[in-house]
Amino acid sequence: MGIEIVGVNKSFGDFVALSDIDLSIPSGGLTALLGPSGGGKSTLLRIIAGLETADSGTIEIEGQDTTNVPAQRRNVGFVFQHYAAFKHMSVAKNVAFGLEIRKRPKAEIARRVEELLELVHLEQFAHRLPAQLSGGQRQRMALARALAIEPSVLLLDEPFGALDAKVRKELRDWLRRLHDEVHVTTVFVTHDQEEALEVADTIVVINDGRIEQVGTPDDLYDKPASDFVLSFLGPVTTLGDRLIRPHDIEISRVEQAAVVDGPITRWTRVGFEIRLEVTPTDARYAPVQVSVTRTEAHALGLHPGDHVWLRPAVGAQSVVSA
């Protein structure tokens, strides 16, 4: 159940957007398709929605083969990055659109629209035009519009991509809570690993038209299947011949068993965090990025120029660098 994708291929001319995608997305979950721009994640989402057709392969939504069903009859809610608001209609009319198409009775539509606007906290904006709303409000309207048709799956294509950082964070938390309330199978596309880690139950990492790894946020972060996944999910640095997260490095001012040692050659303070660059004395190794909190740096008595010894912290994840 949920969404079953089998053997999907898609090319645009010479460009292979998706190659041999097999994926099963659980019912009722909140799944993120994560990857760099141009990696094929949006194409996959659009194929699920029927806005794009796969060159080969099949799509099944809630046990029903929808490969050849047009977008109009897939009962899929779709939210676009740039809202795709119906500009000449009021907020309420936008939300009512799908229900009017389905010829529901007027009273029922009015009731449902009111419910939905309440759900997305736009009740007092019902009679405004989309142009009179902020970006975040417009996107919430788009969400209510997509939810109005009681879709079997809700698909969001970079839903917060056009918003500024603060609103993005608010909407992210809000989407998580909304999903806990509504429980519709939800898939969203993002290139922001923080967004995926914070919101999703399951993350699908897509790169170059292929699936790199599927798993829970913890799985992906703790057991990355490849150096791509490791480096995409957060900052990485090379310690000796392994890739490791900068905050997983143990740093010491006194000589100890270490992978590399050398002076601190750069010191950048970002809020609570201090990012150091250590240039190993052994010239075979590249400079190492280390991240410590301000308190740690204080406790260790670190200063720019100090000679330090570095080794992986206990339990740190690392991958042999390619």
């Binding site: 929605a49 029927g50 806005l51 047009p70 977008a71 109009q72 009859r73 897939r74 009962n75 899929v76 809610g77 779709f78 676009f80 740039h82 795709a84 608001a85 119906f86 500009k87 000449h88 209609m89 009319k93 659109f97 799908g98 198409i101 389905r102 405004r128 035009l129 142009a131 009179q132 788009a142 519009r145 997509a146 109005a148 048709i149």
Partner: protein, 282 residues
């Protein structure tokens, strides 16, 4: 539209100074002055003069002029043909604009340029072209000269670009995503057209149609050669005005002119109202 967008934000924004307190800076005032003077010299004063001339003869001149069956028939023909042509343009112009914006094909750039030719061509040249193509010596075997069809044809030719050029930029601004959103909500292609695309295009279609109609009722150069100006058959209002002037009857000429002006004004207002209605009720 604009007042809708800006006015009811109703938040804690400080009250703006009252309208009457002028916000004109010196350069803006000079600009406004020059604009109004220019507009007056070119448009307002001649218009006022025409109306004055027509009114100078009192109602009698109007009644007499309109009572002249030849004049009445010419005005009727002009308005009828202009309406018909505008209707055709609304459909064909929108269609051509759609093709030019949405479809990729060989020769698109060339077509894009050719569309403007009726604008660029001196109208009398257009008349000559039409005469040689659809006149008595037509290589196509189609002779519409000296009939009301010739008026229709000439008007079609000169008004072709209006709706196309009005609709095109608006269509380019229309995001395809909006149509996809409508589709994913279950709307058929037709419903998407009627409820999403058409309301967005309505104002531009209306402005194109207004221009096309106005040009239609005033056209002279392109149709005189082909139409033959036969009374009760192919004589249009502008030819009538010309005849009145030649026969030294400026009051009657002005009367016809004022009637055309009134018709144009009525058309502008009606089309504006229709487009607002369509845009509102998507």
């Amino acid at each position: 539209m604009t007042d809708l967008l800006t006015s009811p934000s109703g938040t804690t924004r400080r009250r703006r100074p009252r309208r009457s307190a002028s916000t004109l800076t010196r350069p803006a005032a000079i600009g406004l002055g020059v604009g109004v003077t220019w507009f007056s010299i070119l448009v307002l004063i001649p218009l006022a003069l025409i109306s004055f001339q027509a009114a100078g003869g009192g109602w009698g001149v109007f009644v007499e002029t309109l009572g002249n069956p030849q004049t009445a028939s010419a005005i009727g023909l002009t308005v009828r043909q202009a309406l018909l042509v505008t209707l055709v343009n609304v459909v064909m112009g929108t269609l051509i604009a759609w093709v030019l914006v949405r479809d990729q094909f060989w020769g698109k750039r060339a077509l894009e340029t050719i569309i403007d030719i009726p604008f660029a061509l001196p109208t009398i040249v257009a008349g000559l072209v039409l005469l040689s193509l659809y006149g008595p010596e037509s290589p196509l075997g189609v002779d519409v000269s000296n009939t009301s069809h010739s008026v229709f044809l000439a008007l079609l030719f000169v008004t072709l670009p209006f709706v196309v050029r009005a609709v095109q930029p608006v269509l380019m601004e229309l995001e395809p995503e909006v149509e996809e959103a409508a589709a994913s909500l279950g709307a058929s292609t037709f419903t998407t057209w009627r409820r999403i695309i058409l309301p967005s295009l309505a104002p531009s279609i209306a402005s194109g149609a207004t221009l096309s109609f106005a040009r239609g009722i005033s056209e002279y150069g392109s149709l005189v050669l082909l139409s033959g100006n036969l009374p009760f058959e192919s004589e249009v209002a502008s030819v009538r005005i010309f005849t009145y002037v030649e026969n030294d009857n400026p009051a009657a000429a002005s009367a016809v002119a004022v009637i055309l002006l009134a018709v144009a004004l009525a058309a502008i207002v009606t089309l504006n109202l229709i487009s607002r209605r369509v845009a509102r009720h998507g």
